[in-house]
């Protein structure tokens, strides 16, 4: 096991905190109604992204799923252009045409997609290109455990394995796919499945950025060699905001009274107002759902929040962490102010 340098730990911390703080700003913008549509956050999975990206070099490619903000920020995409994109602004990363689910950055070879499983083929294509061009570059695919039942992702495991491509598959396992517990709809053991495709695979605690970093450190040599092989990491994580901002199950969980009577929240409304059906059955089903919500939409805690966890285990870096926090917040605050001013100015024209 390689010993991690302090510098690396601080870099991981900064990367995670930058993403976290930016997504908090994004949450505010979304809550204020400045961002439209679905907004899927990566809060809770920062350790995975940081731990992986820390090993990347220029020319490596990343294919993400619908939780694209953390990888884009950590890979160095200009934060202002990202925020502007979320607001649909012509000066945004994608001229406001892509939005948060369809972020693309050609210079840094970053893609995202709202189609579950598509980061698999996407990373395979990038890896094929690096092998074709005889570089030492690799491609990373980020996806959730729910995507592991999507055909194109399974196919891409075989393609990467049989063509010996340098794809690093990163499965971010929060055991949820929208409102479905993935283990209830998934047969067998994911790692076995992956090994059945001839791909080396391991598990890691995805809330521990140092553990992720170490796991990727082991994987990298297999990827960056003349005859590369793909590698698969299953990293556990917890999402704080349900599936996306405004997740109805979470809303109901957080303020049942408000949502109960509200015109919004048709899901909970219909559960409670629906006429017909045996009442006992109905009630038991509703309370099942509530139980599910309560158990499921767990909050980030000291043990599963990657940032607080690093703070807790690396107490000797306390002061540096605090400095980083200040620096990051200052930077992002000023960017977000600038962005909001710009948008307001334009709106008043």
């Amino acid at each position: 096991m390689t010993l991690m340098r302090e510098k690396t730990i601080l870099e991981l911390y900064e990367a995670m905190y930058t993403s976290r703080y930016l997504e908090k700003i994004v949450t505010q913008l979304w809550e204020k109604g400045n961002i439209y549509g679905e907004m899927h956050l990566g809060i809770g999975e920062e350790a995975i992204i940081a731990g992986v990206l820390s090993h990347l070099i220029p020319g490596d490619a990343i294919s993400t799923d619908h939780r694209s903000t953390p990888p884009f920020v950590m890979r160095g995409v200009d934060i202002e252009s990202l925020l502007l994109e979320f607001l649909g602004h012509p000066k945004g990363l994608c001229s406001g045409l892509g939005g948060h689910m369809h972020l693309f950055c050609k210079e840094l070879l970053l893609t995202s997609s709202g189609i579950v499983g598509s980061s698999g083929p996407s990373a395979v294509g990038f890896a094929l290109a690096t092998k074709y061009q005889k570089t030492k570059n690799i491609a990373v695919a980020f996806f959730g455990e729910g995507s592991m039942n999507q055909g194109m992702l399974l196919e891409s495991l075989n393609l990467a394995s049989s063509l010996n491509l340098p794809v690093l598959f990163i499965c971010k396992d929060n055991n949820w796919a929208i409102t479905t517990r993935s283990n209830e709809v998934t047969g067998g053991v994911l790692l076995d499945r992956v090994r059945g495709f001839g791909i080396e695979a391991r598990e890691v605690d995805g809330s521990d950025c140092m553990a992720v970093w170490q796991a990727v450190e082991t994987a990298i040599p297999r990827l960056r060699k003349r005859n590369p092989a793909p590698y698969f990491i299953q990293a556990s994580c917890t999402h704080n905001e349900g599936h996306f901002l405004g997740d109805p199950l979470l809303r109901f969980h957080r303020s049942p009274k408000k949502e109960l009577g509200a015109v919004t929240g048709p899901l909970t409304k219909s559960v409670l107002h629906y006429k017909g059906g045996r009442l006992d059955k109905r009630i038991s089903s509703v309370s099942n759902v509530l139980a599910l919500i309560a158990k499921a939409r767990a909050q980030l805690s000291f043990s599963n929040d990657p940032i607080r966890r690093l703070e807790k285990t690396q107490t000797h870096l306390k002061d540096q962490f605090a400095q980083i926090k200040l620096k990051v917040e200052k930077k992002i605050n000023s960017i977000s102010e600038r962005v909001l001013n710009l948008v307001q100015e334009e709106a008043s024209l």
Partner: protein
Amino acid sequence: MRKMEFAEAIESALKHAMTNDPDIFLMGEDVHTLRINLLAQFGKERVISTSISESAFLGAGVTAAMAGLRPIIEIMLIDFIGVAIDALLNHASKILTFSGGKWNVPLVVRTSCGGGYGDGGQHEQSLWGWLAHIPGLHVVVPSNPSDAGQLLLSAIESDHPVIYLEHKLLADYWLDYMGTGGRENVSFDVPEKGAIGEVPEKWESLPIGKANILREGDDITLISLGVSVHRCLEAANILSEDEISVEVLDLRWVSPLDKEAIITSVSKTKRVIVVDEDYMRFGLSGEIAAILAEENISPIQFGRVCTEHTIPFNRHLEDNVLPNVNRILALARKFKS
């Protein structure tokens, strides 16, 4: 008459159908949440949640239908059909022919469609004309609660595969999920008459392939479906102030298409605008032009207000890429000037 919201009407009709026919079951992702009421009433044997494996469970729906059941397979958004369309293209639509007319596929695919809430190009497509290109598929798009309930019954009763598309601006729970997320500071152009309305006391199916004249007029026919019919009605109101008399035809069914209704209306008005949220080229609007041309009905003017490009994320651009009232007005006025 009772009043219902769009999604409520669908659920009410579906509940009615499931009560009467034990062969009907639902299958798809997250149906334990999306159809929680039906789950509560009918149990998980009939409301089956799946993994994210559209090609497998849609394909399974085809043979479950062939085995004598009446499956309703949910594809969350029609955009996602890309991963599973082989089941429709090469199986559901063709097996009746392949079997020499001996084996039907009474499958319903229920799916949400449409844009106007800022979700971008991979989540807001309509694709009904694309689906209808495949011989053997029926495609239906309700525009109001009453039709939504009744047409769902038509789809279920049909012995052919039917794609039933539910527009996200009309179905409150979809809009809440994907658009508002419980926020009170965002709003979308939800057509009221589409979102809520009177429904029959007792659910019954509507005839397959029959369009509906929503407004009669003499100068221009607007042919449309789904949310866009409400844009047409709004435009028609405005145009009536300019003394332009507009007829609005709600197709309801993309396939089979109500040729007769189209021909009758355009023969009268001689001017036609197809207002179609699906992509413009090689689709529904062209098919209508071809039907008219084949019948030797040459409208004095023919125009299209459709989605011409990939739907952009920016809300303003999005609203202009999708058919809207202003685009209809502009074209209609040009026609009558």
